[in-house]
Amino acid sequence: MSAGLVEVRGVHKAYGTLEVLDGIDLVVKPGEVTVILGPSGSGKSTLLRAINHLEKVDRGFIEVDGELIGYRTRSDGALQELKEKEILRQRTRIGFVFQNFNLFPHLTALENVVEAPVSAQGRPRAEVEAEARELLERVGLGDKIDAYPRQLSGGQQQRVAIARALAVKPSVVLFDEPTSALDPELVGEVLDVIRDLAATGTTLVVVTHEIGFAREVATTVVFMDGGRIVEQGSPAQVLDDPQQERTRAFLDKVL
């Protein structure tokens, strides 16, 4: 897959006087797995949510495959905010997996996966359903197709959520602490699915606290603190030989 280029340029975001994102520049190349680490409140989740325009940024811009997210450039160079409909269309190219799964509890696993391709992309239901079955099979839930989310364990729910995010065939999938709400023994099954996904060449951006996962799967590790990117590089560089004091202090605490 060649699509999946994410470019974040000079992004600022403040809640009142609190600078949550304080000038973020980041490029995620197609097919790469970028893992974002950092203490709570460092702006990791906000950055992720900004990429699919769940959060509006105050300054800077974000592009996916060269297409500006949430805005278009007018002939006079100003940025015009897109209509909601346009933004929703852009989101179908960006998968998002939430910390709390956020599956639709009144729909079965299959219906959860089928909803977006049918009603957001207007694809024929029969075709989508066949694909959805395959996807659920791929995340190891072929036998849970008709189960409601509440009948599934946390790990199973998160795997359905991943299948749901993949159903629209996004070029980028964003994971917001996908294993933080899980019991320790369920973390592995979700990480396995993400690892398989990484192997297929889909661009992934993963916010997580799983250092071992970062070391093994990430192409790039980004360390954030106080709304800034403190350090980024290969897992070996950032995790084993951090140059910044902040990174060292954080890794000492979590490792």
Binding site: L88, R91, T92
Partner: protein
């Protein structure tokens, strides 16, 4: 008896158990005594018997008159009037109420403001006053015209033709109901987890699909019980329409007892019909709630039919030794108390769900 030695023999026993323990494996269990409960039961039973007795023996209830008028053609006509008013007013009320709720939650300050103003006005003015106002609309606007706002009109009606008794009743009941329904629907929507809104938005679902497929079905779980409450209120609220002399149940009954002076029996007739309507609505409520509980409970509660069938099946098998019904849930019917315990426990886990 030495507790210490017992603990050694049975290490599974919890520390801090009662000092003396029975030695048998399965001790006899004696339930706690509830003398207060018995006294209360007897008192209530006596009171119930007194009420029933007076209903039967007091000739002034005139039950023969009640039976006679219960299915009297004009009474049935009044009943139909009541049902019609309720249905149409509920339809207008909840239709408009949903629109008002969505307006109130919209990002446009004007829409929010208008919705707020509507609720404020229609909740503040008494229903009876609204009904009379609508009925007298022709005084304010003798003609109703359809056309371009501030421009030419295409067609017009006489207000009196459009807003007759039924029209005025529908407008009064429906519009004031909308004010209450709006708040119920809004509360339901606000009750849906923010994560659901976000997930729907993140998937790129069109706005209308987000509301119709994702948010409203979940909101229904909190909306339905209050909504049925409102509809039951509406059924009885239709009796206010008697001020317009519209032939609904209460008005008809009044007309009849005005003629034959059998006031109490005819009020009982109306009361019985209101009871029947409310009962039917309650049954419908159960099934609607059950429908929207899909996914919210791990296992749906049994329907009254299922419960009746299971109860009879268990009783039958006790008497005749026939096999128990095959679809009986585990733990049902062993002992009523035990069964109740099991059911309560399952229900609790159902609500808790898995983290």
């Amino acid at each position: 008896m030495s507790t210490v030695s017992l603990h050694h023999e049975e290490p599974r026993l919890l520390v801090g158990e009662a000092p003396s323990r029975p030695t048998t494996d399965e001790p006899r269990v004696i339930g706690a005594r509830h003398p207060g409960r018995w006294v209360a039961t007897v008192v209530v039973a006596v009171l119930l018997a007194m009420v029933l007795n007076s209903l039967v023996t007091n000739p002034k209830w005139e039950w023969s008159v009640v039976w006679q008028y219960l299915t009297w053609p004009s009474v049935l006509e009044g009943l139909w009037g009541t049902l019609r008013l309720t249905a149409v007013a509920a339809f207008i009320g909840f239709g408009l109420g949903t629109v008002l709720a969505l307006m109130r939650l919209s990002r446009s300050p004007l829409l929010r403001g208008v919705s707020w103003l509507y609720t404020w006005v229609f909740r503040s003015v008494p229903l009876i006053l609204q009904l009379l106002l609508w009925y007298n609309l022709a005084y304010l606007y003798p003609q109703i015209t359809l056309g371009i706002p501030f421009g030419p009109s295409f067609t017009g009606f006489d207000t009196l033709d459009v807003i007759d008794k039924f029209g005025a009743a529908i407008l009064g009941l429906g519009l004031s109901q909308a004010a209450y329904s709006a708040e119920i629907v809004r509360a339901g929507i606000l009750g849906v987890d923010q994560g659901q809104h976000e997930a729907a938005a993140a998937l790129g679902l069109p706005r209308s699909v987000q509301q119709r497929r994702i948010i409203l079905p979940q909101a229904m779980r909190t909306i339905v019980p209050t909504a049925v409450n409102e509809i039951i209120g509406l059924v009885k609220g239709t009796s206010v329409v008697y001020v317009l002399a519209y032939s609904e149940l209460f008005y008809i009954v009044g007309v009849i007892y005005g003629r034959n002076q059998r006031v109490v029996p005819l009020l009982v007739v109306a009361g019985i019909w209101y009871l029947v309507i409310t009962t039917v609505l309650t049954v419908i409520q159960f099934y609607v709630e059950r429908h929207y509980a899909k996914g919210a409970l791990r296992q749906l509660p049994p329907t009254p039919l299922q419960r009746a069938r299971w109860g009879l099946g268990v009783a039958w098998s006790r008497i005749t030794g026939a096999p128990l019904p095959s679809d009986l849930p585990p733990g049902y019917g062993s002992r009523s108390l035990a069964a109740r315990g099991v059911l309560t426990r399952t229900r609790r886990t159902e609500i808790g769900g898995v983290a």
